[in-house]
């Protein structure tokens, strides 16, 4: 990991203004969806990003790709600073960074044929056209486990798992270096989910792209990730290599999250120590002062209510933002 990272996100912030007023919009508040996140991703690596609904993980993914403009901070991708670039300047870089979406029903245009859906990114980026484009699309269909004959079909003729394969083929077409996958398997049944996870891993071995894998399922994230980052209310609270994080979580939130997952093993489930967090996640409009997690944390003390803990990385690369790590 000595080479420069493929993706370097520094202090990225995305606030959404809440406006009110009839003629003149007055800003009356801000949703602090992403509130100063830094992370790095190397070539061919998978970083898992976990957190509960509303923690800002999807907003972070979109802000990295400049699908929404960040409020501040820096995103360096393959040597280029992305923040502040115009759409025109971004276009050649977009070829290198693609996205796979959660909902295989909403993310494919129902009026377009599969061949066009998969071929369009390649055509728009000038990767291929004409007969060559069609051949590329058919190769991709074959590579993701569909058939070349599917070229002329429409999305509604496919099941959820097959549609997700189409979405993956579309992302692969331009030979990206980075794929951001936002909950790519959470709409799928477990047997199909395993197929798609294996496909994503095979493709990574073959083509060497990096994944930023956003998900709420902690089992899936452990399985696919080299490193895992945990997000709570717009901030990273912990980051470590996958096995370390799951075996020895240091942030009380990570610990509670892991202990809350019911595991498919009744005896082990009954035997392990469980922590049930009280209450809901506070609103990102008005996050608690100090450590955002102190309102639900069993180890919170006075300092947690006033001072926000910094994300501190130890010698082994295990980063934790907590005054009283476990």
């Amino acid at each position: 990991m000595s080479a420069a990272p493929l993706l370097e996100v520094t202090d990225l912030v995305k606030h959404f203004a809440i406006k009110s007023g009839v003629l003149i919009d007055r800003e009356v508040g801000r949703v602090r969806a992403v509130d100063g996140v830094s992370l790095t991703l190397h070539e061919g690596e998978t970083l898992g990003l976990v957190g509960e609904s509303g923690c800002g993980k999807s907003t972070l993914a979109r802000a990295i790709l400049q699908l929404i403009a960040p409020t501040s901070g820096s995103v360096r991708f393959d040597g280029h600073e992305l923040v502040g670039l115009s759409q025109r300047e971004l276009r050649p870089l977009r070829r290198q960074m693609q996205m796979i979406f959660q909902d295989p029903f909403a993310s494919l245009n129902p009026r377009k044929r599969i061949g066009q859906i998969i071929g369009d990114p390649m055509r728009l980026h000038g990767v291929a056209d004409g007969a060559q484009l069609k051949r590329r699309v058919q190769e991709l269909l074959d590579r993701v486990g569909l058939q070349a004959e599917h070229y002329n079909r429409y999305p509604h003729e496919f099941s959820g798992g097959q549609r997700q394969r189409i979405g993956i083929a579309r992302a692969l077409g331009t030979q990206p270096k980075l794929i951001i996958a936002d909950e790519p398997v959470s709409a799928l049944d477990v047997s199909v989910q395993a197929q798609i996870i294996n496909l994503l891993e095979d493709l990574q071995r073959e083509f060497g792209m990096a994944y930023l894998f956003v998900a709420h399922d902690l089992g899936v994230v452990r399985h696919v990730s080299d490193r895992v980052a945990v997000m709570y209310l717009g901030k990273l609270v912990e980051q470590a290599d996958s096995d370390t994080l799951y075996a020895r979580p240091r942030h009380p939130y990570t610990h509670a999250l892991l202990s809350a997952v019911p595991i498919p093993d009744p005896r082990k489930n009954a035997a392990r120590e469980r922590i049930t967090l009280e209450g809901d996640v506070p609103s990102p409009i008005d996050p608690p002062p100090g450590c955002h997690f102190h309102t639900r944390c069993a180890s919170a003390t006075d300092i947690c209510r006033h001072d926000e803990p910094a994300l501190v990385t130890d010698d082994c690369g295990h980063a934790t933002a907590c005054h009283h790590p476990l």
């Binding site: 509960e52 609904s53 099941s159 959820g160 798992g161 049944d189 477990v190 047997s191 199909v192 989910q193 395993a194 197929q195 996870i197 294996n198 891993e201 709420h216 399922d217 902690l218 089992g219 899936v220 452990r222 399985h223 696919v224 996958s242 096995d243 799951y246 509670a256 999250l257 892991l258 809350a260 997952v261 019911p262 595991i263 498919p264 093993d265 009744p266 005896r267 082990k268 489930n269 469980r274 049930t276 967090l277 009280e278 809901d280 996640v281």
Partner: protein
């Protein structure tokens, strides 16, 4: 101990433009008093249709329903809509997956619960409201007096699911049907709701039919497990037997393909190839055969649901007991 619900040979099919869909095809199971029975399976296996049919929600002109579901000496399948209405709510209650759409957005939460109580019991509005507040308190909603006057949109997803559970429990039903009660919730909130359901089951001895796709949730809550595939029960066993001595290749596949947060990852996740068959035209033999790695000549015949290993442990597979034991 006689079961409080005995479902026998339940069949539900729907006529559609593309042909008849046999959604539920001969499902039988018992629910004993105080027992939590989980029905697990993937999308389209017929688990939700089974649950909804029990309380009459699948009755429609294009549906054909047969079989029996004996509850309190009466057959739920045979009851008229009016008779069923007196059972529903008072004796059998249901909690749905989506707490966002199961509450009426224009009525205060307390009023909705009170109205439910008054539809079944002769009580004044004030008494019903007092009871609603008690119920909200019992499911762990803070400041229940104030919250009863709030509208559904003022509650978070987890709190709304608590409201649904409060409403389901208002008339102290003997049976609660919970259809994916925690699927829409985050894991920390899911843990709270599962705790709540377990407490209610233990303290009030309410029987629960739990519909879920999540084997983790099953492991947490169930006493008995029914595994469904393509409209049929493929395996039925006690919780421990199902997890530690599963008998059907589909169950093996399901248990194997879950990525575990508590174990070092395997190099490759075991997967079940292909996808479930269409229920318009299901295969005549074993319905899982096309995806099964143990398939052999006998599988072209439909296997019966029978006990091969222990009393009460049923599976629908032609493999010999030795072959199954050898696989484990």
């Amino acid at each position: 101990m006689s079961p409080i619900l005995r479902v026998a040979d339940l069949r539900v099919s729907f006529a559609t433009d593309e042909g008849v869909v046999h959604a539920v095809d001969g499902v039988s199971f018992d629910v004993n008093p105080g027992e939590v029975v989980a029905i697990v399976g993937e999308s389209g296996c017929g688990k939700s249709v089974t649950a909804q049919t029990l309380i009459g929600l699948t009755r429609s002109p294009n549906a054909t329903i047969s079989g029996t579901a004996i509850f309190g000496g009466r057959d739920l399948i045979d009851l008229s809509d009016d008779e069923l209405r007196t059972v529903r709510g008072a004796h059998i209650a249901m909690v749905f997956q989506d707490p966002m759409t199961s509450l009426n957005p224009v009525y205060r939460v307390g009023d909705q619960i009170a109205e439910m109580i008054r539809a079944h019991r002769e009580v004044s509005k004030r008494e019903a409201l007092t009871r609603a507040v008690e119920l909200l308190h019992s499911v762990g909603i803070p400041n229940p007096e104030r919250r009863a006057r709030d509208y559904p949109h003022e509650f978070s997803g987890g709190m709304r699911q608590r409201v649904m559970i409060a409403m389901a429990l208002a008339l102290e039903p003997e049976l609660l049907i919970a259809d994916e009660p925690t699927t829409a919730l985050d894991v920390t909130i899911q843990a709270q709701i599962l705790n709540l359901l377990r407490t209610l089951n233990r303290e009030k001895n309410t029987s629960v039919v739990l519909i879920t796709h999540d084997l983790g949730v099953v492991a947490e809550l169930a006493d008995k497990v029914v595994v469904m595939y393509a409209g049929q029960v493929v395996e039925q066993a006690s919780l421990d037997e199902l997890f530690y001595q599963p008998q059907h290749p589909y169950t093996w596949g399901l248990l194997g393909s879950i990525p575990r947060p508590d174990e070092i990852r395997p190099d490759r996740l075991p997967q079940i190839p292909g996808q479930p068959p269409s229920l318009r035209n299901p295969p005549t033999g074993c319905r899982f055969a096309a995806r099964c790695e143990y398939v052999f000549a006998d599988c072209v015949q439909p296997p019966p649901l029978r006990s091969g290993s222990g009393i009460g442990h049923l599976d629908r597979c032609w493999l010999s007991a030795d072959a199954k034991a050898g696989r484990r």
